[in-house]
């Protein structure tokens, strides 16, 4: 009799096993995979890295090392850095020998300045310091006088920064000039990390280099494009929209970051190198999406300072990036390349119900 019971038992056990395995099986190869993840303090911010794939642990160590190495080259507050040495020799006529990466990022910065008619200027440091925005220390923020800024503006001039790529040197023409890479260093770092990851078997990655610059590789753990929420500049505690991105970099500049109010007027940190004053162009935040990370970073600052008309003219001419411009009048200008990859936070599509109206900009 037990034999008969056992013959019945076998299919039941098999069926049960099948059920159990079906319950625990991942839905795709990467689903459920834990990333190799690390948070590091660098470039005056906190960076969060998440890597997926067979080589993720080794790649993570290499990425963290690379961030530290680039930070040490680019930090102008560290007297031993390339940028501090370049600044220290300003006006003395001697070319300063630099690491290849410093030469490369300076060249990219000069290109971004040319493309944006000077809206991006890597020599804006004297003006940044006058406002106290250089350190990230809110206690240092101050309102400089117009005459003080007028005295500093001759020192803000990218045409007086010379880069000799073949010799691996650079120099600044005038004493008192200073380079600050704050508007491009994180984007350049994203590009370097992406190139570094190419040398490893890393299928997917989220490189959040301080939330203003985020580079995406592959897909998220669910196998979908990475979903990047963009803050509402009128209420930075909530997100305005979500962009679905893969193998590209997003950079955001918003007037709501690093700002202070004096006598009822709010001053933000996105300083126009041509006036020395916070940009007042009707834009309250810019988000740029593109494949060239360094350029994407620089453009997020430049488009803010160019204003919506000039920014969209550049978008039409350029063809290498897309952008979201949030305007003070409540309009969101979204370029057409992002139309199918954008979802508003509360799913009301074209109008989000929080005083924003979205317009799709076409070429």
């Amino acid at each position: 009799m037990w034999n008969r019971h056992l013959s019945l038992l076998l299919p039941v056990v098999l069926l049960t096993g099948l059920l159990l395995s079906a319950c625990s099986a991942p839905t795709s190869a990467s689903a459920g995979e834990e990333p190799a993840a690390r948070q590091v303090f660098a470039m005056n911010t906190i960076m969060s890295l998440q890597l997926y794939g067979p080589d993720k642990e080794a790649a993570l160590e290499a990425a963290v090392d690379e961030i530290g190495r680039l930070d040490a080259l680019f930090d102008r507050n560290d007297p031993d850095s390339d940028i501090a040495r370049l600044n220290a020799h300003a006006g003395d006529g001697s070319p300063v020998a630099l690491a290849p990466e410093t030469v490369e990022v300076l060249s990219a910065a000069l290109d971004a300045g040319t493309d944006t008619d000077g809206a991006f200027d890597v020599t804006v440091a004297p003006v940044i310091d006058a406002w106290g925005f250089g350190t990230g220390d809110a206690a240092q923020y101050r309102l400089p006088s117009r005459s003080e800024l007028d005295g500093l503006l001759p020192l803000v001039d990218a045409s007086a920064l010379h880069v000799d790529a073949s010799a691996g040197t650079a120099w600044l023409d005038r004493a008192g000039m200073e380079v600050d890479l704050g508007g491009i260093a994180k984007g350049y770092t994203a590009a370097r990390l992406d190139a570094l990851l190419d040398g490893y078997d890393v299928t997917d990655a989220l490189l959040d280099l301080g939330s203003s610059t985020i580079a995406l590789r592959g897909t998220n753990a669910a196998g979908d494009r990475w979903r990047v929420a963009v803050k509402d500049p009128k209420d930075p505690d909530r997100s305005l929209l979500v962009l679905s991105l893969s193998d590209e970099t997003l950079s955001t500049s918003g007037a709501y970051e690093q700002c202070f109010t004096e006598d009822g007027v709010t001053y933000h940190h996105i300083l126009d190198p041509r006036t020395g004053w916070p940009g007042q162009t009707g834009i309250c935040s810019v988000t740029v999406v593109g494949g060239d990370s360094a350029r994407t970073d620089a453009l997020s600052t430049a488009l803010f300072l160019m204003g919506p008309d000039e920014a969209l003219d550049l978008w039409r001419r350029d063809g290498s990036f897309d952008c979201v411009l949030c305007l003070e009048d409540g309009r969101i200008l979204l370029t057409e390349g992002l139309e199918d990859r954008c979802a508003f936070a509360d799913d009301t599509d074209k109008e989000d119900g929080h005083g924003w109206n979205c317009e799709i900009v076409r070429r």
Partner: protein, 140 residues
């Protein structure tokens, strides 16, 4: 030839109550196993404090009930944390930026308070599932 092969089914009688009992027993065991193997959510809201990567402490907030507990952190710029069952905040910091204080209360798993001058991260794990968010990362 075919006539000499006896099908085992030919010997089989109709299933008895015993058969049903064994099947039920197996199914019940399978269900118990499924229950035991279910993914258990880490439902105890916990605040982890890390200074420059090193774990300083982990506080089980769900134990606090209605109490508010204060923790002094021996950091380069000393900080005071306030812990409640539903969240944590930096009540005071000697740091220059004060961004950590301005962040206010955080109460959901995945949320963080960062103090850059102290290289300090206070993060929440467990508790209500924050994966309900329809995004992977926030820019800005």
């Amino acid at each position: 030839m075919a006539g000499t092969v006896r099908s085992s089914a030919a010997d089989r009688r109709r299933p008895t109550l015993w058969d049903g009992g064994v099947a039920l027993l197996i199914l019940a065991a399978a269900l118990v196993l499924l229950w035991l193997l279910r993914p258990v959510p880490a439902d105890r809201l916990t605040a982890e404090v890390r200074m420059d990567g090193a774990l300083l402490g982990a506080y089980d907030l769900s134990e606090l009930g209605g109490r508010t507990e204060t923790v002094e952190l021996d950091a380069p710029y000393p900080m005071t944390l306030e812990l409640r069952s539903n969240g944590v905040r930096v009540a005071h910091s000697d740091c220059p930026s004060q961004d950590c204080v301005h962040t206010g209360w955080i109460g959901r798993a995945g949320e963080q308070i960062v103090c850059l001058p102290n290289k300090c991260i206070i993060s929440l794990t467990g508790g209500a599932d924050a994966s309900a968010n329809d995004f992977d990362v926030v820019a800005g």
